[in-house]
């Protein structure tokens, strides 16, 4: 298997808004002709992918997209593989995805990892890493998997979260985990202002060493180059709030403290 490097072509006329065709689990198993012939919806018509992007094979098992407009629903429903996007993306990144990795070298819109229009739960597996900022409702109703936002996140990350993990590297964190049932929202910035809803417990400070899952997460964040190798030594304690007490009360919000 090889990957595809896709460079967006300059063209006139209407542009697509839906990026859900960019699914590595489907594109990586196809020949270059099949990939070129893949249809993309533009308004009320369809155009072939080959008209929108130039496609070059690569050695890495990755679909990499460069210079595309901020389409919605990139990687929606994907089950595996890696999608790498250089540039901004629109709303609904990775909706209802169940596996694989999406890396965005830019910012993302609202509802990252949320549910598709016809689904009642968000992503059920896989990982999304956003180098820039993300909009509101990161991880809306997500069920499993991990979302990492290295920049700022909008309002209510983890809103109605069912389970899974959200990592926010900068602050402020605005009302995380409202109505969450389970799941973990981690803020790795000790100085960030975390504003919690009233249904969360008073935070308790624990040693990171006693929260072994935190150490597993640190290892994964290092593997994804989200954390440097000097951490978590400087952040060897975490403050943990639990909630939402009006739901299952099995969710938790972590903030690393100095």
């Amino acid at each position: 298997m090889s990957g595809w490097l896709m460079i967006w072509k300059k063209r006139t006329g209407p542009a697509p808004t839906d990026g859900s065709v960019f699914r590595p689990d489907q594109l990586l198993s196809q020949s270059i002709d099949q990939v070129r012939d893949t249809l993309v919806r533009v308004g009320r018509t369809y155009v072939s992918l080959g008209e929108l992007v130039s496609i070059e094979p690569t050695d890495a098992d990755v679909v990499e997209l460069v210079g595309a407009p901020a389409l919605n629903a990139f990687g929606a429903g994907m089950t595996g593989g890696e999608l790498r996007i250089r540039g901004k993306v629109g709303d609904d990144l990775g909706t209802s995805m169940s596996g694989g990795l999406i890396r965005v070298h830019g910012s993302a819109g609202h509802r990252v990892g949320g549910p598709a229009a016809d689904a009642n739960k968000g992503m059920t597996g896989g990982e999304i890493v956003i180098d820039g900022d993300a909009g509101d409702y990161v991880g809306l109703r997500m069920r499993r998997g991990m979302i990492i936002v290295k920049g700022h996140a909008g309002a209510s990350p983890g809103y109605r979260m069912i389970a899974g993990t959200i990592v926010l590297c900068l602050g402020p964190v605005d009302h995380p985990g409202l109505e969450m049932r389970r799941g973990t929202i981690m803020c790795t910035n000790p100085g960030a202002d975390v504003t919690l809803g009233v249904n969360f417990s008073r935070g308790r400070v624990l040693e990171l060493s006693s929260m072994t899952f935190g150490l597993v997460m640190v290892r994964r964040l290092r593997d994804l180059c989200v954390l440097g190798s000097d951490k978590p030594n400087a952040y060897d304690r975490v403050r943990i709030w639990t909630g939402d007490r009006c739901e299952l009360n099995k969710g938790e919000v972590w903030q690393w403290v100095c």
């Binding site: 499993r144 624990l206 060493s209 072994t212 899952f213 150490l215």
Partner: protein, 314 residues
Amino acid sequence: MRVGDTTIEDTFAEAFRMWAARLIVTAADDYWVDVASREATGYGTSVIGCDAEAGVERRLSPDDTPDMRPGAALLFFAFNARTLAKALPNRVGQCLMTCPTSAVYDGMVDGFTKQNSDDTARIDVGKSIRFFGDGFQKSKVVMIDDRQRRLWRIAVMDGEFVVEDDVGAIKAIGGGNFLIGATSQRAGLVAARRAVDAIATLHDVITPFPGGVVRSGSKVGSRYKTMFASTNDAFCPTLRDQTDTQLHDDVNCVYEIVINGLSEIAIAGAMRTGIEAAAGQGIVDISAGNYGGNLGKFHFQLHKVMATAKSETA
């Protein structure tokens, strides 16, 4: 064949099909890794009387463990996957969950398939232990070593016990062995320790007996109906005049090194390494335990094992 002063007998070791699982155990520091490893692999010498044969395969540095703490790879062997599935949750629940700061992960990368097959199986560990959490347990699916793995977080009094939902098991081999025939007990002990120390540096094998050494080698069957294994009288120096002895005239002490491994190549490599280390002054011969070739399907001819190029068994 001779290695130095020691004769390598023209015989073979007879080994059996077993199933194996590998657990990665981590803890806050080396002391607690030792404690956890010792407890989890205790009472794990022979499936004649134990639920599993167990041992420490190797120590792991923080760079090699999922939670960046020091750890150890433990290997567990049983006659079949079903027996292993009974032994592992018991040992993890009683010996590892109770051990301060410990965590348990699957270390059998080769056995990673969610479907059971003729050659691999998944064994529930955290899946059953999680109920100790009394409803407070939490499940997390995390990418570790490019695999999505489900971990259970069970609240305990020093924080949380993390244990993998299920672990892989694969077909393996138990009962690779060689017998060190020494002129004295002291010479035998020194040689046995040399052999065990040399084997301990290898991957995919363990020596499950006390200190890696067996003094009570057994044969199949007994004159007593209730016993299906009994002392290997042919190698007992005290019975030399009462039985069909297989001992050389100068041999006054015999120690057996039993090796369980994940493959024939791993066991053959460990046998050769161990024999090379054991041979020397005071060691008259190296032999091997077999049952006439009728019991185990894996036969390790000592001369063939010693002739195998190192590159083939590395």
